[in-house]
Structures are given as C-alpha cells and as structure tokens.
Symmetry: C2
Subunit: 451 residues, 2 copies
C-alpha cells in the first residue's frame, strides 16, 4: 500500500492554508474555504470537535461524552480541499513560514490561521490547577464528574460530621455562564437524581457555593439578567458569594474572603487565558494572553497569518468593545478571514488586484445561561427573557448548534430523561480517580454491625 | 447533619449478608434477597454495574460508556434491606468472619457471597498486559478504543510503508466470543465507518488477525457454529490463525507460531482467571484461580461463605462439566444461593430446622456471538442459528438483558445508527493516550507542500 496523494492532483499547486484548532472558529473557517482556490489542512490535538457550552452537562452526568463531541474528520468527509491532521503545534515560526510540532518536526504554510482557543487561567497561581480543575476538555469534564460522584459516595460512608460536611460541599469559583450553569446543575443532581439512591446521607443538604469576585453574576449580561440568575440559583438552594475573592485553594477546600470553606470538590470557572501558542508569534499580547490583531484579524507584519476566536484580542469596529470569548465571536471572525483568504487567492490566481480587507464588526447574537430545569436567562437582540421561555430558547439554540443529526437526537433524548424523568444517564465514575477511592466502607459496616 | 441510620430500625437485628461484586451474579443475588429476613450490603470497586458482553462495542465506537453501565445504587433504590458501598475488598478473614479492605479497615459479616468475577489472564506472562491490554472494564475498553482510533490517525500521516502496515494491523489474541466479536467489529469499523473519512490511507486494507491456539473458533459451541463463524469472519476480511500460539508480545507486535507480526494494536482476549480475592480464602483453587466450591456453592468448612460466578469452580450436577464463565451461570448460582440464605435465615428466625441444601444444576441458556452487521452464530436449546436470524436473536437477547429502559432505548438507537446508517457515534480518543500522540503530521505536511 503506497501512500496515496492527499489532495487531489488538481489542487496540488494551490496555496496551502493551515488552520490550528477544530473549535467553532476553525471548523467554520475551513467550511467557508470549500470553494476557494486553496488546499486546507486543519490540525487539532484531539480527534473531535467539542461543543464546549455543554461540557458542564457532562460534568454533571446529564449528557455523555460522545453526545457533545463529533469526529473532525467526519465533518470534512466530503470537502475535497480539506485535510485533517492530529497533532500538537508548539510554536509558529513566522520568519520561516512554518509551524513547529511537539515532536520537533516542522510544517510549512502559505496562509496560517490560529484558532486554538483558551485554557483555564489561575491568575498566576498555577499550583491551584490540580486542586480546583477547570473544565475545557472532555477529559477534564469526566474527571470533575468522577470527583462529584465520588464525593457523594464518600459522604454515604462517612461517620465524622465535619468530613461529611466537606464531602457534600461543592465550591464553584467564578460567576460567569459556566459557573452559574455548573452550580445549578450540581444542586439539581444532588436533589433530584442522587437523593432517592442514598440511604444514610441526605443529599438535599448538599452545599453548593458559587463564588464571584465581581459585584454580580453573569457580568456580560444586563443587571436584570444577573438578578434573575441570582434569584433562580438561590431558589434551588445555591449559596452565592458576590464581591468575594478566593485567596487560597488547598487540598480540601478554599479560603473565600478570609473564610475557610472545607470542600472535597472545588471547580475553577473563574477565567481563561488564550492558548500559549499565541506567545510564540512574538507579537504584542493583551493581559489575558490574547494576540493583539489588526482589524482584519491578521497579525501585525504578516498579513497572511491570522488569529481568531478566544486567542484574538479584537475589538468591534462599531462599539469599540473587546469581542467576548464566545462561539459567535469566533465564528464571525472565521467567516471574515475565510472571505479574505478566498478573495485574495482568487485575485492572485486571476492576476487581479484583491479587494481591500474588511474591518471586523461583531454582531452580538445574544447571551444565555441556564439554571437547572426550566429556568434560564437570555438576552437576544435587546430582548430579555427569564424563566421558562429563556430555557426553551436555550434548549433550541443549543440543539441547533450541535454538529450532526445523531448528536442532536441523543442530546434531545438525554434532556428528556434528565428533565422529565429526573434521570441522569451518565453517572459513571471512570478514569484515574482511583486515588480518591478512600471510602471507609469498613468503618461504616462495623457501625452497621454494631447497630 | 447527623448520620442517619442506614438500615431501617426494624431490620437492625437481622443477619448481615455481605456481597462482594456488582456483576450479573451479585446483582441478582441481592435482588432475590429482597424479602428475606436479612440486611444486605453489596460492595463493588466501581459505582456501576457493567454489561460486559457489550464492552467490545465500546472499544469499537458503536456504543458509548454510559449505554452499557448502570449505577448500582439506582438498581437498589427501592430495596429497603439493601445497601450499596463503594470499596475495594483485599481479603477475607474467615476465622474472624470479616473482610479486609484496601485501606486496612475491616468489616464483619454473618453471611458472605464472593461474586467478584474474573480478570484478564496472561498465563504467567504478566509483562504482556501493558502491551496487549485485556477488556474487562470501561476504562480498558475506552483505552482500546483510543488505541484503535489513534492507529488510523497515525496511518493517515505515515510515509514509511512498513510503519504504515503496522499502524493498520490489529492482532486479537483468543478466538472465543470476545475475540470473534472484536475482530469482526474492528474490520467493520475500518471498512464502513473510517473509510470515507480518511484520504491518504485506504482503511479497507486494514489487517485484522485473529489468533487462536485451539483447533477452532468458539470452542464452547458446536463445530458447525465454529465453522460458520470462521466463514463469516473471512467473508468480511478477517485473517484467522488456528492452532497458533502467541509466543511473544513486544512493543509493536507479536510472535505467532514463529512468525513476527508487526502491529500497533494487540488486544488480549485469550483467557481470564478468577479475581485474586479467592486466594485469600485459604482453600483449594483450580488452575484458573477459581475457588473449588461445594455443590451448594459454599466454601468447604464455612457453610455461610459462598463463591459464585466466574470466581467459582463449580460443576453441573447433571452433566459433570465445569459451569462456563457466562452471565447465566453466575445468575443461576446467585438464585440458588439466595434461596439457601433466605430459607436458612427464615428457619432460624422461626426456630425451625432448615431444609437440606440443593445441589447446583446448570441450565444451559445457549451461546451466541455476533460477527459484524447482520451475521451471528447462536445455539439455543439444541437449535443452531447462523446468519441474520442469529443476529436478530442476539440483538433482542442483549437488549432485554440490559438494565434500565433508558439504556435499552439508547443502545437500540445506537445500533440503528451503526447498522443502518453506518455511523459509529462514539469515535472519541480520550483518556491518557497522549503518549501515543506521535502522529508525524509535520512530515506529512512537508510532503504535501513539496507535492
């Protein structure tokens, strides 16, 4: 079996566009280049596109991993000019017009688009990452799921009241959409799904503490939405600490505004910083590690190198505000950059002058966050929805955005089970959580036997 | 929150039955004790009951983890006299009538049933386990899934023909049901699901080698079934090596009957041995590590200690043959032992003489194995089915045996997608497979750029 040429022969002289990252931005960009006179290679570290907005539902056993992930190869199965490669890009060498991979090999590009997203950021306290995991990948979400479920198991077998309290205390750091949604989902998991299955421990007494340094939750939304979210969370029993900084994370808890809270499970949703790949460009970054790009999303000095999505420090031409790190921002940048590449490669092919480059304008598609069953807040084109209507809008939008009919159907069914039958389908402790398997079942049974 | 008493007060004076293992045997045993005058504690290392016969479908991306696993607590949600504990039992101290846990704590029992199943056995070559993983747990199945999918990714980016061959060679050691089913499923994955998604590599050329030391496949079935399985596997392109011993497993392949086969992926389905927990009983074991139990499944010398399922060396009173390590065997032993415990505790409670103990009779429920889409072999009460009818029987039996309506529905839908739409839903590389992320994408792209 000899290697078969990758791109069809007819494409082999075309410029090579390399895209790093198969998130919302990278996928859309490659799709939009389907009819451009270019060859495209999309590189990602993992083999699947991940629907990150629903990761918190994997962490709380509502959805299963495969429901929010889709093989990247499959997306481009029918796009003749697109290839997919699995690899870890470590650096960009702009002078050499090449990428450097983790294994030291290099790969050239004619055009380059960096869309590698963001990683959890601990504001310099990197030691906290093991104690308070973030939630950006499937592996992280299943690790958090294992921690959460293990905490209930530990509680069931615990005889010491103080340790029991810590098992059943969950601290979520960060009151943005991820933190709000995760806090609500953990309370719901405890009250609805776990309660009937545990005998000794009252899982309804589970304490979920949502810590936010700012003055209100969901600071990217309006004050009415923040207030609605706060009320909805409090109604289902989430404890909210506003204007509270986490000053320490230790093995077994956190210190919040001077108060020590003992908790087995601490999840970090307080912030992200851009993929470290941006640093290797050797150009100016903002405080969150994002690359300060020009209005056309290109990197100063190299018009054929672009940065989009969460990695880009881009302002909206109209409002002058930083474009938020959400899927619509990445998608809109991807569409603009794909348009630039298509127009300039076409012009080059025909020996014509390319059109002037556009300036990025962010169209705010709205923001939404869900708070457990049948409650959500949404702001769409000036309209504010709270409660059931917002929740239905949230369900619909997320279903539509999922890739693939199969995933849509399975997510819809999983939601039906979770929200109508109060049944979470993916209550699995898997992965490397063995070290936490400390349930003192022996003591528990001695107590039983004595009783 | 004070600890709530675990068993209802009315049960607290009843004898304590401890069951180790939440597989088919353990679950059935506890269920059958629902109305007996006993308290029951079921202990398992993991929080879920696993439907092991479908593990190979998780390893080949047909099903997702949560579809074949079910929280053990949930099964016993409504059974008042049953408690569930998560813990790792290391030893049995029969003299002290107690269990010893991994953390050193002890727990007493009045009655004990060991149903901890089997582990992959390498016939003394334990060094092979890392190179040729077995498939007994969800973590093992997802690790094999990651290896298989990564092998195709590596192949897509490979330029060296010999290395390419090794990427696309899969060796399955052991021609029992697991080996037969896995070999067929990998060929099918390669030919149907992967082929349209890969550009350079022809995944149809994937070599799947099924190695069996004995004279025929499926030795527990009749010769006609073995032959039908062999033909069906060959028809879909599986290479079968009968009467072939694996004499070495190395990093990158195996030696089979003197021939060196280079293969990235080697899976061990050649045999199992009983859980090492049996050794700690200090009674006689057979060559597979199973506990030689009396005809009532009790351990010689301790009539209130039983061993059932894959851990038990038990012969059928009627045929005199060893009971095979399959779900019906475990379930039938569980039902007999539950009957003994119920009868004797009732008699004790009423001050009466218990009835004499029964002798185990194994009722052969039949055997079946599936070979890819629409092909299977089945032997049920003397009837031999091959082909589509066997496959439909296989689908039905496995659906019925799954725990929970949700799992049945999701498995049925996943099968519909896999078998009708040729779409495998769970093509995810997750877990700790990073060290294998060696895809030389850089070289591949340089080659592309030169082309």
């Amino acid at each position: 079996m000899d290697p078969v040429p990758a791109h069809p022969a007819s494409l082999r002289d075309l410029p090579l566009v390399v895209v790093v990252g198969g998130g919302f931005g990278g996928i859309r960009l490659v799709q939009r280049l389907a009819n451009a006179p270019v060859r495209v290679v999309l590189i990602d570290r993992s083999n699947h596109h991940l629907f990150q907005p629903l990761l918190y539902q994997v962490a709380t056993s509502v959805l299963t991993e495969s429901e929010i992930a889709y093989p990247i190869r499959r997306i481009f199965r029918s796009q003749a000019n697109a290839l997919v490669g699995l690899g870890e890009v470590r650096a960009v060498d702009r002078a050499d017009r090449s990428l450097v991979f983790a294994d030291g090999t290099r790969a050239p590009y004619d055009w380059l688009v960096l869309a590698a997203g963001a990683v959890s950021s601990y504001f310099g306290k990197d030691g906290w990452s093991g104690l308070a995991p973030g939630m950006k990948t499937l592996n992280e979400a299943t690790a958090i799921r294992a921690r959460v479920l293990q905490a209930f198991e530990d509680a069931e077998a615990e005889t010491d009241p103080r340790a029991l309290r810590a098992h059943l205390t969950f601290v979520i750091v960060g009151g943005g959409a991820t933190g709000v949604e995760l806090a609500g989902a953990i309370r719901e998991l405890a009250v609805e799904a776990m309660a009937p299955d545990f005998r000794r421990v009252r899982t309804e007494s589970t304490r979920v503490v949502l810590v936010e340094a700012g003055e209100r939750l969901l600071s990217s939304m309006g004050e009415a939405s923040s207030e609605a979210a706060r009320k909805a969370l409090q109604a289902i029993g989430v404890e909210i600490r506003l204007k509270s900084m986490v000053t320490d994370v230790f093995d077994g808890g956190v210190v919040v505004a001077g108060e020590r809270i003992e908790a087995d499970t601490v999840v970090w949703a307080a912030g992200v910083s851009a993929s470290p790949l941006g640093e290797t460009l050797g150009t100016e970054l903002d405080s969150a590690g994002r690359v300060k790009v020009l209005p056309d999303c290109s990197v100063p000095g190299t018009p054929k190198v672009f940065v989009i999505g969460d990695m880009a420090s881009q302002t909206c031409a109209k409002s002058g505000h930083q474009v938020p790190g959400v899927a619509p921002g990445a998608i809109q940048m991807a569409e603009m950059v794909a348009g630039i590449i298509a127009a300039e490669t076409k012009a080059e092919q025909r020996g014509k002058t390319p059109p002037p480059r556009p300036t990025f304008r962010y169209k705010d598609k709205g923001t939404m966050a869900t708070i457990g069953r049948a409650r959500a807040v949404a702001e769409v084109s000036g309209l504010q929805l709270h409660g059931l209507s917002a929740w239905l809008a949230w369900l619909l939008v997320h279903l539509v955005l999922l890739v693939g009919f199969r995933n849509r159907l399975f997510v819809l069914l999983s939601w039906a089970f979770a929200y109508l039958a109060y049944s979470k389908g993916a209550r699995l402790i898997t992965g490397q959580s063995r070290s936490r398997l400390k349930t003192p079942i022996g003591e528990e049974m001695q107590r039983l036997a004595r009783a």
